[in-house]
Amino acid sequence: MSLAKPDAVDISNKQKVALAIGIIGLFILTLALFNTNFPNKGVFLTCALGLISVGTIIYSRDAYLTKLEGIKNDGVWFKSISSRGVWGWVVGVILTAFYIVLYFYPKYLGLGVDGVVNTGLISLFDPLSQLLSGRQASQWFVYGTLYTIAILAFGYKFILKYRHNRYQQIRTISVMFFQLGFAFLIPEFMYVMNNDLPYYDLKSMWPLNYYIFDEWSVNGFLSNGNIGLALILFGLITIFVISPILTYKFGKRWYCSWVCGCGGLAETAGDSFRQLSSKKMSAWKLERWLIHTVLVFSVVMTTAMVYTYLGYDSNDFWLTRGVFIALVIGFLTLVFAGVLFFKGKELGKDVKYGAIGFFVVIALLVIMHLTGTTKHVFYIKAGALRSIYGIYIGSIFSGVIGTGFYPILGNRSWCRFGCPMAAILGFQQRLFSKFRITTNGGQCISCGNCSNSCEMGIDVRHYAQKGENIVRSSCVGCGICAAVCPRGVLKLENDSMKGRINPTEVLLGNDVDLMDLVNQK
């Protein structure tokens, strides 16, 4: 169909001014990047961040407050930036380049190592870092600040866009709060109080913060007495106790679209790209293999890391290598057997894949135990395993591809294809959770707005048009499918486990005898 870009979606003059303001802010940052030495860095930093925020705010207000409340998706597939057009690719390339430099060449951002003062972009952020924690900025501080600004400014935009929808507003305020407080400010203040503690974002849990059980990290915590011990215990409790309870009650959304920083950025700055995720069956298949492979990798890698710094002799410390490996295998076996016993039938042929995954992990752990030494696991240096994970999963997958490719792959490709945390929560959401997206009887008209706006690439319509509730491990519960549905068909709910998964052939509204005949089978 000849759907060239209609010029009717042009932006207003006020929006052009707002864009200009934001671009001036970005321009200051660019100048800094190219080593412009600003005289009063504090003022210029404030200007840059202020202009970017103000630009976004003015733009959003003009975009949404000039219209009546409602769904605001007009022209999404016409705009170059949100439909993989030229601007989409330009932004994608810039973001990707930024991430590569950030992770691998921070010196180009002006990072001064070994006591050398910062230059360039990073030095521009020194005043803010000094103010918060009394030390000079690092590339991570620069990144954290920009990340937080993005979530706050685009969070504001998102709140205006969905100003008729309180679920969206509260959820967005939540991610803004957790990013600003837990990811950005609290770690800085913790450093001020006790500068030996490793960086710890309290809301980030293993395996998302895959480094928490590393030797340096654990030593860092343990050498800090009770507070460190408390933090590491908190880390264990979040993943093994708090998270299962909350996921059971609310689904994985309590984390993925209410708390998580990656999710926070995706839901705010990434909102314009949510329609770009692939809904094809083939993408779903790829997703299932990729994300679970990453999970296996992260479990084995973490176990290996802990394993290498544990001793052989139980007289030194009760948790020896043997005990640890036995504990891990025991725990995994318990989970596997439990799932098989309670949910085996429901999972059908997926049990086979689950079994393959389980035995691969067990085999790897046993091999590791039999061949591992203090320095080496799998005949390679233990540190190397950790580095491989850090580089390929922690940096390239989650950062470079996950965020850099927002305008190409959609805003949740990391969450969907790579995040091991999402895999664990999703596994639980699929099997033991009260959460589902309820389909409203026979009201679906198969229009496709729900699938189109699903950032996780779930073909929501596939379920809705069958009158079937959506119970999918990948669903992060953002609620946009329900918001954009023109017929009021979808509702995110926590209800009883019974009847949660309800496949139907004939939908409500037809002959009751026919429904009985067909649906009872």
């Binding site: 169909m1 000849s2 759907l3 060239a4 209609p6 010029d7 009717a8 979606v9 009546l68 409340e69 409602g70 769904i71 998706n73 007009d74 022209g75 999404v76 597939w77 705009k79 008729h164 929808n165 309180r166 679920y167 509260i170 329609q275 094809k280 069956m281 309820t438 409203n440 009887g441 026979g442 009201q443 008209i445 198969s446 229009c447 496709g448 707005n449 699938s451 189109n452 609620g479 329900a482 918001a483 023109p486 017929r487 009021g488 509702k491 995110l492 709910e493 052939e505 004939v506 939908l507 409500l508 509204g509 037809n510 002959d511 009751v512 005898d513 026919l514 429904m515 005949l517 067909v518």
Partner: protein, 434 residues
Amino acid sequence: MEHIVIIGNGISGVTLARHIRKLSDKKITIVSGEADYFFSRTALMYIYMGHMKFEHTQPYENWFWKKNRIELRKAFVKQIDTNSKTLLLADGGNLSYDKLVIATGSKPNKFGWPGQDLEGVMGMYHKQDLENLEIYAPNNKACKRAVIVGGGLIGIELAEMLNSRNVPVTFLVRESSFWNGVLPEGESQIINRHIKNHHIDLRLSTNLKEIVSDENGKVKSIIIEETGEEIPCDVVGLTAGVSPNIDFIKSSTIETGRGVKVNRYLETNIPDVYAIGDCAEQHEAIGNRRPIEAVWYTGRMMGETLAQTICGNRIQYKPGHWFNSAKFLDIEYQTYGWVFSEKSKQDYEQHFHWKHHDDTKCITVAYNKDTNDFLGINTFGIRMRHEIFDKWLTEKRDIDYVMNHLVEANFDPEFYSHYEAEILSTFNNQLQTI
């Protein structure tokens, strides 16, 4: 192997094909001249608005059809020969069948207005209508104003579409208030105001007299019947309802009225020929339903039903409780059971109406004033549960029960404000004053 040929790849035909495949190994062919693959007609508007691309309106991926052995033939049918059980196609081909299902849907009504076939005049029903609109109204420079004739569901959707590209719209509605042949007055008036709030030039009690051509045979303006006013425009949307798309059947031996006449088994007068969806006309209406039901859901239900008959379990089309839904610009509408407008309701039907002060939410509950039986509900701006109302209708609950349990039916997203308490107290107050 028995060959089932279905004319039309809309929701009725496709639902039928899917269900036949589940029940049998019969050979299935779907013939359609409109599009290669099934798409959701109700979603066409979102393509023009830029919410989705055409491929997003296709509920099944392209490999689905081959995998399920459903053959697709892109062609218009020119003639049906029921004696030799053969279809004559517009591309010159033939297709023979063992059983034939007509599921050709509707076409926009044209009431013989002068100029109704000019360039720039279109309905909004087929994929081709959308392509036409893209040509004549790509933006507000090429289309300085559009006039929409006919105030129903498609008319308001077309207005919303044009509005999304800032094309000024004049909306001619024959009735004294929007869709008030169907909606009770209070609801209809909320929608009137909502249309105007979107800066759409709504003209009530206004008829089209003629469409005026420019020198190139393209629409130049329209003239209003009542006032003689001439409104310059580049596009005219004809959205005064739809009627069965069955012109090619008229020459066959299949009995037609306004639609293809069918009995309760969806069988026509010719053995092995059936009709479902918008184009089927019941000899006698079922309950309060119309003989021709041009609704997505009923098309789907007929498809679900006829699959049984074709696969050897002959059953009647016996739809359950009526339901429907729509969206008027930003206001969602759902209905369960029967709520009639003042124009068409029976004496026993009494209404309770509640409206929120923000003028975007309201409900109307219909009940039998003699027996207090709950008859149906219309809800605007508040989502309600289909399952609950279906159950209450089956259980023949009375109005008091429904009003007191309304919260159970609420389907709004979490954290939304609830209005049940306010609705109930309004209801109780009204009862006391009567």
